[in-house]
């Protein structure tokens, strides 16, 4: 059964309290341990930015994670301002604060994913979806050793492809699988940032348990509005040096269409 208003929609709602200012609740239901998942924490900021923008879809969103966000019942404070409102793109700065300290700063451009850039545009290049075992043959994330409580797994259903559901056994560092909201809420362009940040670190299949991998910065490019159903996802770390890794991800909807790309700079602290 599909809820009339899903948990994600409800738990990322924002209320405008002044020019360029919003407040939002912070639910602990999307936590990784005691901290909010980063993709969830960015999501109310995207809602505020969407209220400000002339355009509906986040085309390019960069978030720097300054400090963890620990939901404690007190409101989040969001600010957002338009840097430039163009014909096809609105560029905005935004920030999320809690308990008097900035937690996330965002720079992003919103546009319309249903519009072409020019009438005469030619050329199409599409990254093919990965070969994955079907969701029912994948490993639910909750069954993997995590080293931390994951309340978020009550909200998102994450299934790991058997080839990725290993620890320190592979030469490559690839994490692939499926994701959807547990309550049946269909995916939208604005929740793909969350879906791009809800899988185990891609270094685990190669390095084994590495503990918490904090994200310093993450950029998500939304490429199309997703169709209802499972989202297939593939993340790879092909670049790790001195404890700093680049992880690149791609997400496809149930029709096989590429719907988002992600890239993050994260810290592998070890142990």
């Amino acid at each position: 059964m599909i809820a009339a208003v899903g948990h994600f929609e409800q738990d990322t709602a924002v209320e405008r309290i002044g020019p360029g200012r919003w407040r939002a609740g912070a639910s602990a239901a999307w936590n990784i341990g005691e901290n909010a998942n980063g993709g969830y924490a960015v999501s109310p900021v995207l809602r505020a930015m969407a209220e400000l923008a002339e355009h509906p879809d986040p085309l390019s969103v960069t978030a720097h994670f300054l400090r963890p966000l620990r939901p404690d019942g007190r409101d989040l404070e969001i600010t957002a301002e338009v840097v430039r409102a163009g014909r096809s793109l609105t560029v905005m700065r935004a920030s999320l604060a809690h308990d008097g300290a900035d937690r996330i700063v965002v720079l992003g451009g919103f546009g319309d994913l249903t519009a072409r850039t020019a009438p005469g545009v030619v050329g199409h290049v599409a990254l093919a979806p990965p070969r994955l075992a079907p969701p029912e043959e994948c490993v639910p994330r909750a069954e993997l050793a995590q080293g931390v409580d994951l309340p978020i797994l009550e909200r998102v259903d994450v299934r790991i492809d058997p080839a990725s559901a290993v620890s320190g056994e592979r030469d490559d560092a690839v994490m692939a699988g499926w994701i959807r909201f547990a309550d049946g809420e269909p995916p939208t362009a604005r929740n793909l940032f969350l879906f791009a940040d809800a899988f185990p670190p891609s270094v685990v299949p190669r390095l084994g348990a590495v503990g918490w991998v904090p994200t310093l910065e993450m950029t998500v490019h939304v490429r199309a509005r997703p169709a209802p159903g499972w989202i297939a996802a593939r993340f790879e770390c092909d670049d790790l040096a001195d404890g700093r890794m680049i992880e690149s991800g791609s997400l496809w909807d149930a029709t096989g269409r590429l719907v988002a790309r992600s890239r993050q700079l994260g810290l592998v602290l070890g142990g």
Copy 2:
């Protein structure tokens, strides 16, 4: 002969004129047609950010290009502010204006590329450099049809691998080759943004001449300080839909070390 102060160093100099405010000259020597190359235009902003940061190296820099910058002898105005100064990372917002209008907005984190994130860090993953013809067997960019004057080629020596020096003849969209400063100035962490934005569009080998491909947003992750000598570079567009493309790039120094990753959202307008 290596100049005592190279052209790049000189043409990206900034002068602090107040708290969080700098002015800079804008040289037309780095132009693509009548507009400044985007990577060059970002570079004085990185200089200002480096003056503000506790840390020397740009680890993650995202720039949104709002409007073209046309150097006309008048100063550029740069603003930068620290969002958070942490132990290992300084996160900053910045902007570049000219003729009364913002041209570029930047969000970036600076750190120290010579420091490890933690003493016990294990694991190393390195992307291998591409197989390229040696620079002397590559095609100087100036010899390729460009459809636009490229004064910048007096400043940077760009050599295109023969496999990429084609127009509309390939199934893949890959642009690879070599780059260095024409005056012998050695590469640094702060000029890799320029080097990541100085090659022809990667869609050309597949689609043929596509005209100007404006960059909406570009993120560069610097991974290591480069050794002197040629930089090898490889860019690929594996995702183009409705005229919006994602181009991902990697740069390696003369020792074969991966020194930067890039990703941009660009517009293929066609014709």
